[in-house]
Structures are given as structure tokens and as C-alpha cells.
């Protein structure tokens, strides 16, 4: 039986990271109408920042403190070095760990933004599904490059790099990582809600709805699309950092096969966004929560029991494998049903909060001393 607290932590971690990644996609695809099918490429950057950059920096800082830790060892003896760091260095140096955490967040945001900007360059020339395929192909090229470049992801692509446990000082580091995940998700949600109701958010949607009208009103459409790509990609990279630091998600390691996986970090966010509602932040959170709870709780944890309840063993099926298949069945059916029955999503795009004209008018009338 699964511990209820661990289960809650698992669900919260899942919801947290997918909220971040899907909201990041939403600003690009939902608000601005850029069909980003290369989202995983930006997410993976966050994983590289934690698994590679932060680990190197931590090793450099710890090389004088903990015997056996060398900067060179981060790639050469990855497991041993990170094990030393996680057991001997971070538990006694909370200040350094928090500093590295902030470093990871900042670097991921900056790098994600830069790569997003680079990826936005072709977005000036292409539209629609052509752009989608171009971004898909770019992400695939990046994935292959990263997978086989030893300097980035270590020598074994499937194993990858062990991640530094920056919450080792907190006693229960898994719980601390979960809290961190949830806090980051709330911050990201808050920021995107602000953007949604700001003039910038309205401008994004204006470009999506009618490019020519936005142009006619003197807006540079290219700049608007670029901005959306930069913001969305930076936040996606932040999602990668959150993923890499959370033991429930990354499992203490980042590998190119997991962080650049286009199914998990491009297609799933797309599915969640469609389900929740394009350009609807609340919808995205609702869809993520719904799928997270459905997926982790009955399907991943109780998949054997569920498969038996669905009659898998009567057909002679292996309940364990059947449970694994249910994950895809659930998502596939949800996508198609959402598109067919509720194309606007669970919670449709809310109208932008603009100035309250009635209040404004009353204020002006009061100032002018005119009676209605």
C-alpha cells in the first residue's frame, strides 16, 4: 500500500511541474497562436542547467571541503561525485544550496529565453503547421545533439546525470522539493494571470486573433511573437529545473531521453492545454489537476487493482502492463473527446479584465459634478 503523504506529494509534484510547463506553452500557443511543437527543447535546458551547470559549480565549491570531489569528476565519476555532494556537502551547507537554487533558476530563465529568442527567428517567416513542424524538427535535432554529446549529458544517454539534491539540508528533502515545486507553480500561475489581464496579454491575443488589425494599430507583430516565445521558453526551462530537483519527477537523475522527450514535454502539455482551454490559465490548472489526480492516483498507483476491476485478468491480460496502457488510452480519449465536445476547453478563455467603464464614467461624472 502506498503511503498517503507520499501519494499526495507525488500528485502535487506532477500537477506543479505540468502546470508550469503547460502555462509556458499556453503563453506561446494559446495566447499568441505560435504552434510550438518543440516545447520539450526548452524544458530540457532546465534539466541541463541543474544536472550539468549546477553540479559543476557545486563540485567547484565543494572540492576544498569534501575530499574526493573534483570538478572533473562531475562527468567522469558522476554517480560517486554527486553522491558525495548530496550526502556530505549540501546537508551542512544550506546557504550554498539555496544560492545554487537561485543560480539554477536565473540561469535557466536566461538560457531558456535566449533559446526561445533564437527559435523565434524562423517564426517571423512561417505560419501554422509549417512552423509547428519546423519547431518539432529543431527540437528533435537538439535532442539528438544533446543525447550524444558527452560534455552535456554524460557518457551514457539512457542513464544521464545524477542531480544535486539542493534540499538535502531540509531533513525531508523530498517534501521540501515538493513544496518548492508547488511554490514555483503558484508564482508562475500568478505571473501568467497578471500577463493575461495586462495590456501585453491582450496584445498577444490580438496578434493571435487578427494579425492585420494588430499591425494596423501600429503594433510590431514580429516583436510580439518574439516576446511570447521568450517568456514561454524561459518559463519552460524553469519547469525543467523544477523537474530535475524533484525526486518524485526526475528520480534523482536527468537523462536526455527523459528531459527532451517530446511525448512528455511537448505532446502532453499540448493535450493538457487543449483539455483545459487555450489561453485559459485557470483551465490549464484545472486540466492538469484533473489528469494528475486521475493518472497518479488510480492509474499509476492502483493500476493492478484497476486493471483487475476492468476485467483485464478475465481476458487473460497482464494487469500490470494493462495498467500502463491505460495511461495512453486515458490521454488519447480525453484529447479527442475534448476536441469534439468542448473545443474551448474545461474553462474557456476568460474575457480580459479591462477598465471598468461604468466606474470610470461615474468618477468622471462626479468630478465634473454632473448628475445622471
Amino acid at each position: 500500500m502506498v503511503n498517503a503523504i507520499v501519494l499526495t506529494e507525488q500528485i502535487l509534484s506532477f500537477i506543479g511541474v505540468y502546470t508550469i510547463v503547460t502555462l509556458a506553452l499556453n503563453i506561446k500557443a494559446g495566447h499568441t497562436g505560435i504552434p510550438d511543437f518543440g516545447h520539450a527543447m526548452f524544458f530540457g535546458i532546465g534539466g541541463i542547467v541543474v544536472g550539468n551547470f549546477v553540479a559543476h559549480l557545486a563540485a567547484a565549491l565543494a572540492s576544498h571541503v569534501v575530499p574526493g570531489v573534483t570538478v572533473h569528476g562531475v562527468l567522469a565519476q558522476n554517480t560517486e561525485t554527486l553522491n558525495l555532494l548530496n550526502t556530505k556537502y549540501f546537508p551542512t551547507h544550506p546557504g550554498v544550496a539555496i544560492g545554487l537554487l537561485i543560480f539554477a533558476i536565473v540561469v535557466a530563465l536566461v538560457l531558456g529565453g535566449i533559446v526561445g529568442w533564437l527559435a523565434s527567428l524562423p517564426a517571423l517567416r512561417l505560419r501554422g503547421e509549417y512552423l509547428a513542424i519546423l519547431l518539432l524538427a529543431t527540437a528533435e535535432a537538439v535532442r539528438i545533439f544533446v543525447t550524444y554529446t558527452k560534455q552535456i549529458m554524460g557518457s551514457t544517454p539512457t542513464v544521464g546525470l545524477a542531480t544535486p539534491d539542493l534540499f538535502a539540508w531540509a531533513g525531508n528533502s523530498a517534501a521540501a522539493a515538493t513544496i518548492f515545486t508547488v511554490i514555483m507553480a503558484i508564482i508562475v500561475y500568478w505571473v501568467f494571470e497578471r500577463i493575461h489581464h495586462s495590456p501585453a496579454g491582450r496584445l498577444f491575443r490580438a496578434v493571435r486573433d487578427d494579425e492585420d488589425a494588430a499591425k494596423a494599430l501600429g503594433r510590431d507583430v514580429v516583436v510580439v511573437r518574439r516576446d511570447a516565445m521568450i517568456i514561454g521558453s524561459a518559463v519552460a526551462a524553469l519547469g525543467g529545473v523544477v523537474y530535475a530537483l524533484n525526486p518524485f519527477l526526475g528520480g534523482g537523475a536527468v537523462a536526455a531521453v527523459s528531459i527532451f522527450n517530446r511525448v512528455f514535454w511537448t505532446f502532453w502539455p499540448w493535450a493538457l492545454m487543449i483539455l483545459g482551454g487555450m489561453a485559459s490559465n485557470r483551465g490549464v490548472v484545472a486540466a492538469t489537476a484533473l489528469v494528475g489526480i486521475l493518472l497518479i492516483w488510480p492509474i499509476r498507483v492502483y493500476k493492478v487493482q484497476l486493471a483487475k476491476a476492468l476485467g483485464a485478468s478475465l481476458l487473460g491480460l497482464d494487469p500490470n502492463s494493462f495498467g500502463n496502457a491505460l495511461e495512453y488510452l486515458l490521454l488519447g480519449i480525453l484529447i479527442i473527446l475534448a476536441l469534439a465536445l468542448k473545443p474551448e476547453g474545461i474553462i474557456p478563455e476568460p474575457p480580459s479584465k479591462t477598465l471598468d467603464f461604468r466606474k470610470k464614467a461615474e468618477k468622471i461624472l462626479k468630478e465634473e459634478k454632473i448628475e445622471l
Binding site: 512561417l126 539528438i144 493535450a271 496502457a325
Partner: protein, 358 residues
């Protein structure tokens, strides 16, 4: 630096043929429905699972070889050639099953969504959803005990994980002379690619159905006015696209790397991106273009990239797909309609003039 020998050349040709067979299906479905079909390679996989099952079942049912089961359980590479009609039945069923899955997708997913006025992005996502459902079905299928008993235990090189697969490399015919061995699947792939080209050419230019298909693609409304059931014509086009994918699926059975068993952690097969690449580089609105494009991408990945290894070291081979993705990016940015849209006569005239300078 013997990067190229006859055997690897044939491997490259095999891969290139496979890609061109799959690319043409992407193009056919894009031309009719205006959607990039993410589920296309999965049609091939469904067809290959069915064809493999049929081969195994027939071999068992007619007791063609008593030691067949032993061969499976031991997982040894014993060559047991089966009578030709077993392969023929499997091939025909792969063709039909591939087509049927495509028609199911067209009628159950794409047509209803289009009628509701879904945009191109929504349609693309819906093909992903259908792909997920097919993954789940294949996965459940592989866990059926009746199928499990038939499967071959394969040990993956990475992580030493044993998994069940329906791969039957050992049933392939091998032509060997000296140190060179060429597999039957390689020859068959090239025959299929050629047959696809000739078959589609004859269909589109010499038959009434082909004319109906072309007119429905060119101008659906006008075709409708002329009394063509555009809906049915599109469904037939989807059937053809899926059936051609079924041919590729039949080749998967005898391939060594392309038919990896579906698992929930690694559902993404590597080949789909290259197939898109072939379809786009060749020209997404051109049937002959996509066949050529698929072939070109296959050659880039497996023939031209190994040629670079004397310069960049043997490690370059791992990055083969980076080059095909680069080809996609360049095509989309500079000739979005693909190589087929280029006015080659003009290019050659210009190129000839420029060629003298360089």
C-alpha cells in the same frame, strides 16, 4: 576509412526506401485533409503487429515446422523459411489493416472534427490523440497471453532489458556472396518503393478514381458540383495512404531496429520525424516529391553522414538525424513547398552559369 561498403550502401537504400514509402502517405493524407498525421507511422506498426501474428499463427496452425515454438522460446537465430503463401497472406493483411486503421481515423476522428469546424492545430492534436489510443491498443495487444506465447524474447543492448517482440529477422531470406550478405527485406523495400511509385502514378493518371482524387484535392467544391462524393474519395485516399504504410509495416517485421515494442516509457519511435522530414523536403503537396524526399532524407542519414566520418570522426554517425532536421529547416525557410516546387529547368540554367564561375 572504409565508411562505405556494399552492405552499408544497401542498408542505406533500405532505410531510404522505407522512408519514401512512409513519406508518401503523410503527403497523401496532408493533401486531402490538410493535417500532418502524427499517427501515420503507428498505422505501419499496427499492420506489422498483425502481419507478424498472422505469420506466426499460420506457421503454428499448419504445423509447418514442428520446431517453430522451440525456436521462439530459445530466441535463437535459426533460419526457418516458410512457404511463400504465408508471407503473401501476411503482406496482403498488412496492406488491408494499415488502410483500415487510416479509414477509421478519417471517419471517427478527423471527419467529425472538420465538420465541427476545428482548425488545423486542433486536427493535428487529434491525430496525436489517435496515436496515443493506438499505442495503448498495441500495448494491450502485446500483453495478450495468446500473443505473448508467440513472441520472441529479445534482449536490448542498452540496460540488458529483455522484452517481447514480434520481430522475425530470422525468417528473412539472406543472399550472401563472400563477405557481403544482403537481406531479403532490403531488396523487398526497394521493390515496394518502386511499386508505390508506379502504382500511384498509374492510379493518379490512368484511372477514373485517380482523376477524381486529383480533382477533389485541387478543388473540393467544384468536384462536389460535378457529382463526385468528395468525402468518399478522401476516405479512399486515406485508405491508400494507410495501406502503403502497411507495406512499410510488413518490412518492419524483418527489420532489426525499427520495430521496437511499444512500451509506456518509450512510445516515441524515432522514424516519424524523419518521415515528416522526407515529406516536407520533397514537397508536402507533391506525391512524387514526397517519394523523392523520403529517399533523399534516408540517404542523407545513412549514406552521406557516414561519408563525413573520415573528417569528423566516427561519432558523427550518431548525429545523423541532426542533418535531416537541418534539411527540413532549410527547406521550410527557403522553399516551403519543397523540392518538387522548384523550377528545376530554371535552376539548372542559373546553376550552369554560376557553375562556371566557381
Amino acid at each position: 576509412m572504409a565508411a562505405i561498403d556494399i552492405q552499408s550502401t544497401f542498408q542505406a537504400l533500405y532505410y531510404a526506401s522505407l522512408l519514401s514509402i512512409l513519406s508518401v502517405g503523410i503527403t497523401l493524407s496532408y493533401m486531402t485533409t490538410k493535417v500532418f498525421n502524427f499517427a501515420h507511422v503507428r498505422f505501419a506498426m499496427v499492420a506489422s503487429y498483425v502481419a507478424a501474428t498472422i505469420i506466426l499463427l499460420l506457421a503454428k496452425a499448419f504445423n509447418i515446422h514442428g520446431d517453430f515454438a522451440w525456436h521462439n522460446m530459445a530466441g535463437m537465430q535459426v533460419r526457418i523459411p516458410l512457404p511463400w503463401w504465408v508471407y503473401a497472406v501476411a503482406l496482403i493483411s498488412a496492406f488491408i489493416v494499415g488502410g483500415l486503421v487510416a479509414v477509421i481515423q478519417y471517419y471517427l476522428v478527423l471527419r467529425p472534427l472538420q465538420k465541427r469546424g476545428a482548425g488545423s492545430m486542433a486536427l493535428m492534436i487529434s491525430t496525436l490523440g489517435f496515436d496515443f489510443i493506438l499505442i495503448a491498443i498495441l500495448f494491450i495487444y502485446m500483453t495478450l497471453p495468446q500473443i505473448r506465447r508467440l513472441t520472441v524474447k529479445t534482449v536490448s543492448l542498452v540496460g540488458r532489458v529483455a522484452f517481447d517482440s514480434l520481430r522475425m529477422d530470422s525468417l528473412d531470406i539472406v543472399i550472401s556472396s563472400g563477405s557481403v550478405t544482403i537481406r531479403g527485406a532490403v531488396i523487398l523495400a526497394m521493390i515496394f518503393a518502386l511499386a508505390t511509385i508506379i502504382g500511384l502514378y498509374l492510379l493518379l493518371t490512368r484511372t477514373k478514381l485517380g482523376v477524381m482524387m486529383r480533382s477533389s484535392i485541387e478543388n473540393p467544391n467544384l468536384a462536389l458540383v460535378l457529382g463526385i462524393n468528395v468525402d468518399r474519395v478522401f476516405a479512399i485516399t486515406w485508405f491508400i495512404a494507410g495501406a502503403i504504410a502497411g507495406l512499410a509495416g510488413y518490412l518492419f517485421i524483418f527489420a532489426t531496429v525499427y520495430l521496437t515494442p511499444v512500451s509506456p516509457t518509450t512510445p516515441s519511435d524515432q522514424i516519424i520525424v524523419s518521415v515528416f522530414a522526407g515529406s516536407i523536403v520533397g514537397g508536402i503537396n507533391s506525391v512524387p516529391g514526397s517519394i523523392g524526399g523520403g529517399f533523399l532524407i534516408g540517404l542523407i542519414e545513412k549514406f552521406f553522414v557516414p561519408l563525413l566520418s573520415p573528417v569528423f570522426g566516427p561519432g558523427i554517425v550518431k548525429y545523423d538525424k541532426v542533418f535531416s532536421m537541418l534539411a527540413v529547416a532549410l527547406t521550410l525557410l527557403f522553399i516551403p513547398e519543397g523540392l518538387a516546387s522548384v523550377n528545376w529547368k530554371r535552376v539548372f540554367r542559373l546553376g550552369g552559369a554560376k557553375g562556371k564561375e566557381s
